[in-house]
Symmetry: C2
Subunit: 596 residues, 2 copies
Amino acid sequence: MQVYEAPLRDMRFLIHELFAKDGFGTFPAHAEFTPDLIDAVLEEAAKLAHDVLLPLNMSGDEEGCTWENGVVRTPKGFKQAYDQFREGGWCALANDPKWGGQGLPETVNKLVEEMISSANLSFGLYPGLTHGGTTAIKAHASPDIQERFLPKMVEGTWSGTMCLTEPHCGTDLGMLRTKAVPQEDGSFKITGNKIFISAGDHDLTENIIHLVLARLPDAPKGVKGISLFVVPKFLIKEDGSIGPRNGVQCTGIEHKMGLKASATCQMSFDDATGWLVGEPHQGLAAMFTMMNTERVSVGVQGLGVGAAAYQAAVAYAKDRIQGRALTGPKRPDLAADPIIVHPDVRRMLMTMRAYTEGCRALSMWVARALDAERHSEDPEIRQRAEDMTALMTPVVKALLTDLGHEAAHLAVQTYGGHGYIREHGVEQYARDARIAMIYEGTNGVQALDLVGRKLPAHGGRYLRSFFHPVAEYIEKNKSTPGMEKMIDALEKAFGALQLATATIAQKGMADPEEAGAASSDYLRLLGLVAIAYLFARSAKIAGIKTMMGQDPDGFYAAKMVTVRFFYERILPQVAGLLTAIKAGKASMMDMPEEAF
Amino acid sequence: MQVYEAPLRDMRFLIHELFAKDGFGTFPAHAEFTPDLIDAVLEEAAKLAHDVLLPLNMSGDEEGCTWENGVVRTPKGFKQAYDQFREGGWCALANDPKWGGQGLPETVNKLVEEMISSANLSFGLYPGLTHGGTTAIKAHASPDIQERFLPKMVEGTWSGTMCLTEPHCGTDLGMLRTKAVPQEDGSFKITGNKIFISAGDHDLTENIIHLVLARLPDAPKGVKGISLFVVPKFLIKEDGSIGPRNGVQCTGIEHKMGLKASATCQMSFDDATGWLVGEPHQGLAAMFTMMNTERVSVGVQGLGVGAAAYQAAVAYAKDRIQGRALTGPKRPDLAADPIIVHPDVRRMLMTMRAYTEGCRALSMWVARALDAERHSEDPEIRQRAEDMTALMTPVVKALLTDLGHEAAHLAVQTYGGHGYIREHGVEQYARDARIAMIYEGTNGVQALDLVGRKLPAHGGRYLRSFFHPVAEYIEKNKSTPGMEKMIDALEKAFGALQLATATIAQKGMADPEEAGAASSDYLRLLGLVAIAYLFARSAKIAGIKTMMGQDPDGFYAAKMVTVRFFYERILPQVAGLLTAIKAGKASMMDMPEEAF
């Protein structure tokens, strides 16, 4: 039962209350986006998600994409939905007005991305990938390339891809073999094979703009010899109209566990014409511009699927009658009580809910930092925001996708046997969510990025962008009546995080494998503390509102229960995580390879 | 890459070493099963799994079962494989020699079940379901019914099913509607609809014997009005040969997330002829005879899939080259190092390994208890064994399926993007393993069974069958040189379990919802302590062997690393579980239903 309604109430709470005063200030560039306007955008997005995208989610999964003679066909209805999406201006939502975008804050954009991911993750990838491409072109390409590609990409008439992976290299891009040979006219001829290219071919847009990593003839070995190229499916004439076909072909699509309505393409480049984006051999940096944008979005994908799965589970738990409450019948009028009366069913629902609301708050915090980084007029705030997005990008990517996937499985479990049956649509969430833990860098790679790059950077400066507000908040609120117990738990969890950080800093300095062995547990620990901090702030607001009798719909009272659940039932995991981190690498590295 | 080889070395360790002296003693009924004979059986089973069942696992998933006009066809090759399985005597392995079984110990049987589940879980369900049926018939049916059905079922010429679930009732069997009307000849006419019937119809056996829950006309309401009937697909003539078709039809099969080569059938009974098994209205007890047998087997299914996934992940991690070790190249002869050099990849592999070996040890302990319960000549041992299987059945079912599923997902994660692609076969493990957490009673229902029935039974007597040996072991070994640290950790974890038990006993007495709110975390806590205990015993044996230089293949050294990993990286979770349990029900039960 796929029943998604965008959680607008919680979204409004985050955007207008929790993050109204968060130290990043306001930005003149966003002055025109009044709360009313933002609410109107969110409401429209909610309608789009519900009316246009949701109805195609199960049918898209069932039908999948098809490939025939180099051409990919998306499932029935996707083309019409994409046209409606594009015409509604949704492709241009957060993009630069200079290129036709609407320049909305990233906070609003991430909420819309969440709704799209909840309603139809497969669909969301088609416009979503374009975003990474435009970001790289804006940041690194020449004005000529920008003018040629950006307007059509921003409006969604053309879509984008990121062509990184090759059959023998995914994480280790240093091994890539695709070649780029310079031509006299300043263009390049690109030749090579790429795999796992999302939206590599499809029938939704009139052109597809590939951003391709390749090596120049004089390229040094490894990652320092990679350059970025823009390679359109169809060449573009002088007047900007569509020209002849370029030398790029989709040679097949993957049969996957899920995300079946999103075409995952094998691409063959055969003397395809492309243009350099940025400097020669600087492709990796340009690629990370795309990747970092995408990584936060992939985290939001995990959140979105988890949020949809939560709603499905709630609907089923209220509807399905089976057995009686442990304390005696609660609905004697029915043959049995709805299963939502059972504590263990509620444990599953509350876990999903706490994950979802906690991850949503974290994604909004990072979105605020993204906005501040781009739009704050205060250079000190910009720096702090930049530090925080650098730190939190791997956390958001890995934590939100891990928990989103877990939420999807809790929804399947809530359904029992019916959850395993395809027609109910809930197992699709589990299959779809699974990829987000893998693509744009596996979650293990995110954890390594966090401990290996982000922690040591600038003498730990990135970390301070997160530790300072948490420490300050604890200090300021520890004696606030009614908050003592929560702040105490937050302080203990934060203490565990600080201890874990010190352990990694110390051991990891001497032996990078020690940092690697701790990385995944550390990312989880940091993520749980981040959510605990944002939840403490949320509960404080909610507590005041309920105390003042300003809770007509029960939203704040419910928020307090959710926060309590998180603090009592999920946050205690930090103790075990710290112990595991302190144990060190021996129990992993001492096993001889042949003994596995 | 599905590459399964049965882990015979670990299996021999468990059966000949760890459980050679475990307080249950030896059984005259098993005197003929010498270690050599047992090893020979395990080796033959390993060959069967590898040569016959494994090659059909991916093709079976791809093709699935088909249903047409009431007839189910299994995937290509399944019929030949089943014939080979049956002719090899594998259907009769653990069954009573009285009915043509080979009477092998349950320990051996469970290891064989694990191999079958690893190689081809879908296949395993066809002979597996028969076992539950024969158990119920042996325990409850009249001699006449036993003679009519058991010989053919035991040899596998006929298969069995368990027909419990109806569209509106799964967990709550009290609501079931299928009717049984007595006939003059002592038979009954059965009418009603059942769903989710594994192996309800197929083309592997000449007859299918359904064990059906239904209500007699004078039945009291609820679970006290359920009776059990045996209903064959084809009626049986006086001479025992196949007679006319009975009034039972498969009206469709489910399209599922996984386990696609196992037919999950909708069954329609329309005046089907059946015979009562056991006393009228005592069907629930008879059904639990089947269920309990099946529940341990379902746990082993989870273990089996996890074990296969572990092997796939190891093979990939050794083969896939990508990046360099954090401490510098380990294979400078290659373009990159195999990913098994990375600590975080090893964290995933070691987690899978610790789960697999720990769960295997636990399943063997319970299998030993099952053997003791049936075959010990000492009534005191029989009682203790019975207590332990009663306590541990829900734990084995839930813990082994949870961890098996988690292991399967860790294998997918080890594969990265390739793990999401169907052709590699590893995502199939994740989909197949998923159902084991649901069927034969969801894992939430297992947890409720543990805290609601098993803990309080006979004043806590069941629990003592587990607590006593653990306490005794700690006491005896706490000052054994070299074991202090491990025993200290075991003692702390056991202390947490005792505290959690006391909390539940105290709060749950006053309010059953408190027990329900704690149930899943408690089951996990108890399961982790059980594995820790068995791992401590394993490590002790391994330590002595390595010290004496009796470790030519490195098995014991590897076992010690695995145990260390479990103690350092997994067991620390008990702290968080205890905190969560102590927090109580409020954060689940305080949320108003409409606020979800």
